[in-house]
């Protein structure tokens, strides 16, 4: 039995008044009671968490665990542990592995591998097309039965619109949705960064905002036409978030997530740093205006979730001249701090509850119905809890990470607001 003592509680919807003790028995939350009101027997492990905030275990619906086929970058074991230490109780593993997760057997592989390791719970995602070739639908039904929670071509857009349309219809009655990585494939060929001031001045090929917008609008049109849900991941431009806002106002079933890096880093970092590939990511870092638009969208409830798009690489794949380096930012073990720290400047604009939903009930709504409870903290629920300390100040230090990644844009930075404890099905990670 575990007791989390003296915490404030965010239950997935709102911050409860007062302070509480949370008693965990086995894998379940036994009680949430006003602090001091529970009689505790012996042998209970007590954590004194004065004034810190207990939330439903954070959920990250977009992480790359690289297994199978990319184990030198990360594997399910290191990734799950990294997630837990980053404050996440649940992660969804992206299917663009090698081989891709395009069959029920491979979904089972990811699920079973996740069950064998310590750390966050790993939920598999499946690809939309066999081999990620963009032509034939995967056996979605069988994959769902093996535990796949969403389907995506992530890493790429779903190029063929007929395939996207077919998949959206097919999954409509299966309770899972398609996650789209929004890009026009031809407008984004060979790009390195955002198309704008930096690409103009420094001669790097840029991805125009229209690339993201075109795919987002395509998804919205289909969602409307089919009355089927679609989730758009890592939205990075003001144009795309505006389109999603407008679609939501019309009642279209579109949801979206944003990454910590698109909320905090702008394209200026690239020339400033002498073209350091730690800032090379896809979609690319955009402008300050885009960053503000994303935060405003969070304030207005247009953004449903924050997802890291944790993209670990081996050092030798990033420590190259900018144009040769791989795209991706690793952030599982500092993402929450990056967001909490950046939120501080916008505290008046965004109430804490709204922000915390983006890590909890928000992402849980993108998952199938049966996983909805993961986004809420209540008595009798599974003991997935993330405790955060808004005032804790600490430096990001990649060398202490459980992830295999050893590069992150925030390394060495002092951030305020950290997860201090994560409980995953009753197991504590400090």
């Amino acid at each position: 039995m575990i007791l989390l003592k003296g915490v404030k509680v965010f239950n997935g919807e709102s911050l409860l008044k007062g302070t509480f003790d949370i008693l965990i028995e086995g894998k379940r939350v036994r009680s949430i009671a006003p602090t001091g009101s529970l009689t505790i027997g012996e042998g209970v492990r007590v954590f004194n968490l004065d004034g810190k905030i207990a939330c439903p275990g954070f959920i990250d619906i977009h992480v790359h665990l690289r297994e199978p086929g990319g184990e030198w970058r990360e594997d399910i074991e290191s990734g799950a542990l990294a997630a837990a230490y980053g404050g996440f109780a649940t992660v969804v593993a992206m299917p663009n592995t090698n081989p891709p997760i395009d069959s029920p057997e491979l979904v089972r592989f990811v699920r079973l591998s996740g069950e064998r390791v310590k750390g966050a719970r790993v939920l598999p995602a499946g690809s939309v097309s066999k081999g990620r070739e963009g032509k034939e639908l995967t056996e979605i039904f069988r994959m769902v039965k093996e535990g796949a929670v969403l389907f995506t071509e992530d890493g790429s857009p779903t190029v063929r619109t007929d395939l996207l349309r077919s998949a959206m219809l097919y999954t409509k009655d299966l309770g899972v949705r398609i996650m789209e990585h929004p890009e026009d494939p031809y407008l984004s060929e060979s790009i390195q960064i955002n198309e704008g001031r930096v690409s103009t001045l420094y001669g790097l090929k840029g991805m125009p905002p229209s690339s993201e917008l075109i795919d987002v609008e395509r998804c919205i049109i289909l969602s409307k036409e089919l009355d089927a849900p679609i989730h758009i991941t890592h939205v990075s431009t003001k144009e795309a978030i505006k389109a999603i806002r407008r679609a939501k106002e019309e009642g279209v079933k579109v949801t979206c997530d944003v990454t910590p890096h698109h909320l905090t880093l702008d394209e200026g970092k690239i020339p400033e740093s002498g073209f350091d590939p730690v800032y090379k990511v896809r979609p690319p870092l955009r402008t300050e205006e885009d960053i503000e638009a994303l935060w405003n969208a969070i304030a207005d409830g247009v953004v449903d979730a924050i997802a890291t798009d944790h993209a670990p690489y081996h050092l030798e794949e990033k420590d190259l001249p900018f144009e040769e380096a791989s795209f991706g930012i690793a952030s599982l073990e500092c993402a929450v701090a990056v967001v909490l720290d950046a939120w501080r400047k916008r505290e008046r604009l965004i109430p804490l509850e709204r922000l915390l939903k983006l890590f909890t009930s928000g992402p849980s709504k993108i998952l199938p119905e049966g996983y909805r409870d993961l986004g809420y903290l209540k008595e009798g629920g599974v003991a997935n809890i993330t405790v955060i300390d808004l005032d804790r100040v600490s430096k990001v230090d990649v060398s202490s990470w459980k992830s295999k990644a050893r590069l992150t844009p925030w390394n060495g930075l002092s951030l305020r607001g950290w997860p201090v404890l994560a409980v995953v099905e009753g197991v504590v990670f400090e």
Binding site: Y186, E189, S190, Q192, E195, G196, R197, S199, T200, L201, Y202, G203, L204, K205, P208, G274, F275, D276, E316, D319, L320, P321, F322, E323, E324
Partner: protein, 309 residues
């Protein structure tokens, strides 16, 4: 002489005085050469590597001749037979190997923007000189172009320089826009709209889509080659169509001001961006540019490798 720059990436952090220093030293070297080599500065005991990962004729040979004039040892990096190409050795291991052998400068050309900055991050004791990084910068070209115009007109203040052609892909355009403007010139760009960056305003230049109109105002007509090797999609339908719209022909040149000059960084594609007769005419400074290149690169090696005298 105190030279305040450690590496040469681009001219964006250069002052006008820095540029003028290079012009002055280049001129002194030019005069020393004319008097049979007397008074040429010597940069004893230094070694430089021409690290060319992208093709080049002018720049590489120019740097080699410049170095030899000053007594600097030159290693020409043999790309195709290197351990990097054949045995899977990484770029940084290659660099550290060269550094351990005691080279003093690496002149790097590559198709990757930011490659010189990468080298500078990896190397502690070696000066890095950018001979062209992707479409980003070609500072030595800009300096030799400024020198050529300085010798021709006595200066660039209030001169109108027209840069025409494949601007989006051009490191020469980018460095020259910075350099010419720093020396007081006004820069106008021209070319097909899809070869000009969408947001060219960031350059601080004027865009004139009508080439003849732009030619009429210009003191300098600076032409650029279409860099087909960098394009991955169809941008112009044919060389002929490009020539009709944006080629500098004899007729077009007739509309320019008397005394206007034509420049090109080379290599030229005769009949595309420039008519043969124009390239070979008296108004063309193309070969003067090449001559200037040796002097300016010698001046830079002198300044960066710490020669005295």
């Amino acid at each position: 002489m105190e030279w305040r720059h450690r590496h040469l990436f681009d001219l964006d952090d250069w002052s006008r005085e820095d540029i003028e220093t290079v012009l002055r030293v280049s001129d002194e070297i030019g005069r020393a050469l004319e008097s049979g080599g007397k008074g040429l500065p010597s940069v004893k005991g230094k070694t430089m590597v021409n690290f060319f990962l992208e093709s080049s004729t002018r720049t590489r040979v120019s740097f080699e001749i410049a170095a030899k004039l000053l007594g600097i040892g030159v290693i020409n990096w043999a790309t195709a037979s290197s351990s990097m190409a054949v045995k899977g050795e990484s770029l940084k291991d290659t660099l550290w190997t060269l550094e351990s052998m005691g080279v003093d400068a690496i002149v790097i050309r590559s198709s990757w923007v930011g490659a010189p900055q990468y080298l500078a991050r990896k190397l502690k004791r070696v000066r890095v000189i950018n001979a062209g990084d992707g479409s980003h910068a070609h500072p030595t070209q800009a300096l030799l172009d400024i020198y050529t115009l300085w010798k021709t007109f006595g200066g660039l203040d209030r001169k109108k320089v027209l840069i025409a052609g494949d601007i989006v892909q051009s490191r020469v355009a980018r460095s020259n826009i910075i350099g010419f403007r720093r020396m007081g010139a006004e820069v106008i760009i021209s070319g097909p709209r899809n070869m000009v960056p969408l947001q060219y305003d960031f350059f601080g230049v004027r865009y004139e889509p009508d080439l003849p109109k732009a030619v009429e105002e210009a003191d300098v007509i600076y032409l650029l080659r279409i860099q087909k090797e960098r394009w991955n999609s169809n941008v112009i339908p044919s060389d002929y169509e490009y020539h009709l719209r944006f080629g500098c022909t004899e007729d077009l040149l007739k509309r320019a001001k008397p005394g206007a000059v034509v420049m090109h960084p080379g290599p030229i594609n005769r009949g595309v961006e420039i008519a043969s007769s124009v390239a070979d005419s008296d108004q063309s400074l193309i070969l003067d540019q090449v001559r200037s290149g040796v002097l300016v690169r010698a001046a830079l090696l002198y300044l960066y490798l710490g020669g005295e005298g």
